[in-house]
Symmetry: C2
Subunit: 174 residues, 2 copies
């Protein structure tokens, strides 16, 4: 399975806190291995780490990342950089190619992203050419990349687990 990390750029502390937290939780729940945050925001780091310690797995979260350096090093080590943007080429045309890659850095911007990113990315990919949400773009991207296998992932070391139920909330403490 392709190793995926997410690079979140354009995050503004306060204003983007909840959306960026959703980006990180989506990354983790749908099979990415970690998120690099190109801003300083210890609140997000600790809330994601809190989820990881309760719900398991080894998702990495790191803030104060230089996005240019992150992209440069990722490419230097042979990884592929995919920028999710509504201006990009359509996902269905590139899914099969991307699934063959060993390591993908998925760049997810907030409202405004530096124009340079379009040139630095190996692929600029649109989930649709309509405005929607970086969270939904990331979710559809990961679900298609992993062909749904990510929904069956294990999260070792969890202290809590949900028991699927047709009509209520059932959890077990581990």
């Amino acid at each position: 399975m392709t190793e995926v990390f997410v690079l979140r750029i354009g995050h503004r502390p306060e204003r983007d806190q909840r959306v960026t937290t959703h980006v990180g939780l989506t990354a983790r729940a749908l099979g990415a291995r970690g998120m690099y945050l190109a801003s300083r925001d210890s609140g997000i780091v600790s809330s994601i780490r809190d989820v990881v310690s309760r719900w398991g797995g080894d998702f990495l979260i790191q803030d104060e990342i230089s996005w240019k350096k992150c992209i440069r090093e990722w490419k230097k080590s042979g990884g592929v950089v995919v920028h999710l943007t509504m201006y990009g080429e359509r996902l269905p045309h590139h899914e099969d190619t991307l699934r063959q890659k060993d390591r993908i850095l998925v760049v997810v911007g907030a409202e405004k992203v530096p124009g340079e990113i379009f040139g630095l990315a190996d692929y600029n990919i649109a989930v649709t050419g309509q405005p929607h949400s970086e969270i939904s773009s990331l979710a559809v991207f990961l679900d298609r990349l992993f062909l749904g296998r990510e929904l069956e992932s294990d999260f070792p070391g969890a202290h809590i687990r949900i028991i699927p139920s047709s009509d209520g909330k059932m959890t077990e403490e581990l």
Copy 2:
């Protein structure tokens, strides 16, 4: 194709504005026909209507909806109610069944939802049993329900359209 509307419950004006806007835009971009908002929030209504008028299609957005009445009437008219929740049964087990339905109301909660909703829904469905985001749950749900066909949707009446590009931003005014 199944007709889908989204019912957003638990929305708190101010705090949830951006997340609920992302829910609405995701619903629209990925093939739902409209969103009912069980709160009063004219800011969200006008920002979604603004997107619809520029980007096309006939997505409906309505606030100040009573969620109980909305669910009751939907069921009375023969529609199916699906509540997306991490506590529910796994999506892959129900996808094929749900795809046969004519009309689905997808209930999407914010952090806290009234417990009653579990009993009122015909299906409580989890995209994963991990905490992530109502936006990503909705996105994966719609993409799977529509088998990706929603990514090719037309949005008639648009004033702007993106021309997919491998390395920049290209739009056309219509």
